[in-house]
Symmetry: C2
Subunit: 168 residues, 2 copies
DNA sequence: TATTGTTATACTCTATAACTATA
DNA sequence: TATAGTTATAGAGTATAACAATA
């Protein structure tokens, strides 16, 4: 056996020459991220992917994704909002919100009511079923939040929320 | 003029009844985010969108997006990496990386070299032109990073990097 | 004229599955 | 049989533009 480091899982040499004159550190923990380590955006993107996947997994039994959850939460707390208001508040394209509400409405979680004051717009409400469901979604989302806490630490999570409060 | 609060920009009444019995706080700063304020994922998502857009805008003159930048940076610092190694290290699907490299290769920024050691794989390198270009991309990315610093503060940015270091 | 909701299009990104050529 | 790269597909998300109904 060579004196060269062997990858723990694959048993493949961690580094070798390929005949093109370049070292090939194809073992993930040896690859230099270079400038990326100083970019907040890179860390945030990786974190966001982790959070997204944990959220989807934790709420998989109710089949609710983050954007659906955020829309229902805002509608639940502010019954009667128009689609424009929800879209602006959450930073979602109004065209995108149409499909999102279509899916929630077809599941009888949300309803659109024609506004009498401005007949162009809809007043958004949770259905009775939607209200019950949202309570469960919130319990599962709180469980997801505990996963975040376990991953980065209680104080770090709270600090993060304070740092990013200006974006909400 | 009514005594009711008027929206600063639109001059539209901030709150009104729509005849469906529900208050409609359709003014963005009056809408209650409810449980969302306690979710790290919501804040992170909003932050990530802001960062993404600022990055794309700051690097628009060179037409480079965050994922392209991260791939070129890693290839530049680790010449000879295989596609699999880059994909795993950056958390990109290997199928997605194919198209990403196609576009970089067609712009003569990156080249694939058939590996002699394992003829299934490619060794990735920057071209001379790619090396020069990456230096400019890095200068612009540093400028973007200063925008982040200006937005959340120097210390908060550094703290954020430390908190999220475990995801890079 | 401007706005709300809608439809449509295009492009990015994520997530798979399957194919090929190699190992 | 397993892996690297590729191709293809589907769904989510982003970014536009245009249209009908209404203001």
């Amino acid at each position: 056996m060579s004196e060269r480091a062997i990858h723990r899982q694959t048993g493949v040499p961690a580094r070798k020459r390929d005949g093109n004159g370049a070292a090939r550190p194809n073992d993930a923990d040896e690859i230099d991220l270079d400038a990326l380590v100083g970019h907040a955006g890179y860390a945030v993107r990786r974190f966001q992917i982790w959070i997204f996947q944990d959220f989807v997994k934790t709420l998989s039994e109710v089949d609710i994704r983050p954007t659906q959850y955020s829309a229902m939460t805002v509608i639940g707390a502010n019954p009667g909002l128009t689609q424009m208001a929800v879209a602006k508040r959450l930073g979602i394209e109004r065209a995108r919100l149409v499909h999102l509400l279509d899916s929630l409405e077809s599941r009888r979680l949300v309803k659109r009511i024609k506004s009498k004051a401005d007949r162009r717009s809809h007043a958004l409400h949770l259905t009775a079923q939607g209200t019950t469901a949202l309570a469960k979604f919130k319990r599962l989302a709180a469980e997801h939040e505990r996963h975040v806490e376990a991953k980065i630490g209680k104080e770090n999570r709270e600090h993060l929320l304070r740092i990013l409060a200006c974006f909400t």
